[in-house]
Amino acid sequence: MKDGFTPATPGSALQAATPPSTLRQLRHRGGDVNPSAAALRERFGSAISASDVVWGETTVIIEPRRAHEIVRWLHDDPAQQYTYLSDVTAVEFRDPEQPIEVVWHLRSLPFRRFLRLKALLPRGTPLEVDSVWPVFKSADWLERECYDMFGIKFIGHPDLRRILMWEGYREGFPLRKDFPLRGRFSRAEQLRQALAANPEARYSMEELTIAAAFEDLPDEMRARLAGGEKVGE
C-alpha cells in the first residue's frame, strides 16, 4: 500500500484519478472552476451571464427562458452527463432591489461534478422560468413546491398546482418577503377557509387511478390484476 489506496470507482468517467477535494482544502472564493461552466459559455454564449465559485461549488447564471434548453444539453451531452437533479428552489432577498433567484442543483455522477444554475428574475417582471420537467421528472414536485411558496411560474410544467398548501389557498405565497408571518387573514377566517376545504379533492386523476399505468406494469403483475386480484379495498 505504498502508493496509497486508490478506490475502484466503477462508472466514473474521470480520465485521471484526482483525489476528491475536502472542505479543509477549499477557499471561500475562487479555486477550481467546474469545467462545465466554460463548456456552457462556449455552447450558449450570451445565455450565460456569469459564473462564480463559492466553497468549491460552481454557480452559473443563466437566462431564465433558456433553462430547459441548457439543462437538456447538460443532461444529454456525453461530456457533461448531469443525470441527477437534486433540487429546484428559489431565493428572495430582503433587499427589494435584488432579483429573485431560481436555483437548480445538478449533479453529474460519472464525472463527480456539482453545478448550480441560477436564473435571476428582476423585480417588476413576471416571475416565469422554463420548466425542466421534460428532462427530469423529479422536477415535478420540486417546481410545484417552488410555485406554491414563491409564486414562480414554470413554463411547460404539466400540472403546476399548489403542493404544500391546500388547493384554493388564497393568502398568497408564504415564503415571499412581503408575506406576513401569520398570514394575511385573521385566525378565524383562516380556520374557516381551511375547514371548508375538501380533504379528498386534492388529487389529480393521475394520482388517483392506476388504470392509466396498467400498460406499463410488468407482465406477471398485469396477469394477476387481470385475473381479479384485489388491490386495496
Binding site: W166, L181, A188, L195
Partner: protein, 208 residues
Amino acid sequence: MGLSPRPETRTVTVDPQSQEGWVTTRLDFLVNWSRANSLWPMPFGTACCAIEFMATAASRFDLARFGMERMSFSPRQADVLICAGRVPFKLAPIIRRIWQQMPQPKWAIAMGACASTGNMFDNYAVVQGIDTIIPVDVYVPGCPPRPEGLMYGIMMLQKKVMNERMSDRSLRDEMEPDPSSQLYLPPSTIDELSEPFGNSVNQTRSGL
C-alpha cells in the same frame, strides 16, 4: 388541579362470606368504571409528540395498565382522540372529520404544546390549538411531554370519566358547527384564543 384519592363512597364492597353472589352499586359507577379503564385511543400523531406517545404505549411505561393498549386506527372503535403534535390548517378538516366519525362517548386529549396552543409555530400554517376545531377535555403541556406527563393527563381524563353522571344528557351532546362557516366557536373567540403572546408579538410582520 391535582389527583385526589377516590372517595370512599365509590368503592364496591364484596363480602365473600355471604355467598349470595351479587353486589349492589350505582349504575353510574359501574358504567364509568368500565369506560374509564378501557379507553381506546385514536392516535393522531403528527410530530415529535407521537414519538413520546409511542414510548408511553411501549413496555417501559405500558399504556396497557390503563386498558389502553388497543390503538384504534379506525375512529369508529375509538374513545379518546389523542392529538400528538402540531396540526397545520391543511389537516384541520381531517381531524374534524375523524372527531365527527368517533361514536359517543368520546373524549379528546391535546398532547403537547403545539396541539394545545400552537406553541412557537405562530405562523401562517399551523392551527393555534386544536380546541379551535374540536372540543378538548385534557391538555397535556410539554414540548414534548414525557410519558409520565401523558399518563398524568390520561389519569385526569379517567377521573373526569368517573365523575360523569348518566342523568347529565349534555355530556353526550355532539358539537354542532355553524353550517355556513363550519366553526363551532364564534370567530371572535378564535381570534382571541390565537392572539400572539410572548416574544412572538414582535414578529408579526416581516419587513418591506
